[in-house]
Amino acid sequence: MNKILFKGTISVITFVALWYGLSMMPWAKWLKMDEFVQKRQKQVSELFLKLHRLEKNEMNDVRSVQIIQDLKNRLCLANNIDTAEIQIHLFKDLEVNAFAIPGGHIIVNSALVAYCDSADMLAGVVAHEIGHIERGHIAKRFAREIGLSMVMMIGGDNLGLIKEIIHRLTSGKFDRGQESDADAVAVVYVQKAGIDPLPLAGFFNKMAELNGSMSDAMEWISTHPDSKERATKILDGKYTGTYTPAIDSADWRYLVEECN
C-alpha cells in the first residue's frame, strides 16, 4: 500500500511539474491569439452593427449625428485619443443604455439621452464607455468570448451565434474594479475636456434612486451596480477649473427632443 501511495504521489507530482513547466511557455503568443482576437473583434463588431441596424433604427439625421460626434471628438482630442479609434452610434431605443462593443464602437440609446438631465451628464456616461475601451476592459471581455468566436468561425457566422456573443458582450457585468477604473478615467476625461465631472455623480445618484423600482428597460443600471457608492466617490473628489457645457444648449435641446 505504501508503495502504491509513493508511486501515486510521484506520478501526480511529475504531472503537475510538467504542466507547470509547459505553462511557462507563451502558447497564446505562439498561436497568435492576440492577432486572432483583434481580427475577430473587428468582424464581430461589424456583424453586430449590421444586425443591430436591422432591429433598431440608427438616428441618421445630420444634426443629431454631428452633436454626438462633436461630443466624442471633444472628449477624445482633450485626452489624446485618436478620434477614428472611437465610433459613436445613436440608436432609437427605449432601453436606457449605452455600451461599448469590440472595435471601439459605442452605442448610445435615445432613451439614455432623454434620461440625462444635462449634456454634461451624457458626456460623463460617454466618457465612462470610452474609459472601458481605453482601459482594455472590452478587449478582456472579448478574449473570454473568443471561444464562441472560434465556434462561429468554424460553424459559419450564423445569426444565433452572433446574437449569443453580442448578448454576452453587452449584457455581462464588468467587475467592480473595472467599473471603478472606468469611473475614475471618465472623471479625468471630462475634466480635461473642460466639462464638469459632477453631473456624472448626479447620474449615479439618479440611478441609485431608481434602483428600487428598476424596470427591465433600465439595462445600464442592472449592469452597473453600487451607484450610490460610485456617486459618492466622484463627489469626494476635489475639482478646480472652469467648465463649459459639453454641448451647446440649443443643440442639447434639439438632441433631447429628437431622442424623446
Partner: protein, 150 residues
C-alpha cells in the same frame, strides 16, 4: 500455481501463461487502444469498453484478470485527465473561461499522455501476446492490489 497467484500477485512475473491466456490478456490492451482511437474525444467510451472487457473476463484466470485490470486502470487515469481537458475546452469555447497558457499547456500535456498511453498499450499487447510480462509504473501495483484475493 493458480491458487498461489491469487494470494501472491508477484508470482505473475514467473507465471508461464497458456496460449489462450496470452491472447485474452493481449486483447485487453488492444481493446483499450481501439476504443481510444474510436472513442475520442469522449473519454467515457474508452473506459466503458475497457471496463466491459474486464467484467467479461472477470471469471478468467488470474493472469488474464491482472492484465485486463492494468489496462483498465491506465485507461481510468487517462479518462480522468481527458475529462478535465474536455470540460476545460468546452468551458473555454463557450466563453466561461479564457484561453490561457495554462490551458494550452494542459492540452499539450494531455495529448502527449494519450500518445504515450496508446504506444505503451500497443507495445504491451505485442509483448503480452508473446508471453512476456509487462508491468507499468504505479498501475501494476494498483493492479496487484485490486486483483489479489484478501
Amino acid at each position: 500455481m493458480e491458487s498461489l497467484q491469487n494470494v501472491m500477485p508477484e508470482y505473475i512475473e514467473r507465471y508461464k501463461p497458456r496460449e489462450d491466456e496470452m491472447e485474452k490478456a493481449s486483447n485487453g490492451y488492444l481493446m483499450s487502444v481501439m476504443v481510444i482511437m474510436a472513442g475520442m474525444p469522449l473519454p467515457i467510451i474508452n473506459l466503458l469498453a475497457t471496463a466491459a472487457f474486464y467484467l467479461f473476463n472477470r471469471k478468467s484466470t488470474y493472469y488474464v484478470r491482472w492484465h485486463c485490470m492494468q489496462a483498465l486502470l491506465s485507461q481510468l487515469t487517462i479518462m480522468v485527465v481527458n475529462s478535465i481537458a474536455l470540460t476545460w475546452t468546452i468551458r473555454a469555447f463557450t466563453g466561461q473561461v479564457p484561453f490561457t497558457d495554462k490551458y494550452f499547456a494542459y492540452v499539450v500535456l494531455v495529448i502527449a499522455l494519450n500518445i504515450i498511453e496508446i504506444t505503451l498499450n500497443i507495445i504491451a499487447a505485442i509483448r503480452v501476446r508473446k508471453g512476456i510480462h509487462v508491468s507499468y509504473f504505479f498501475w501494476s501495483e494498483l493492479a496487484d492490489f485490486f486483483t489479489a484475493k484478501r
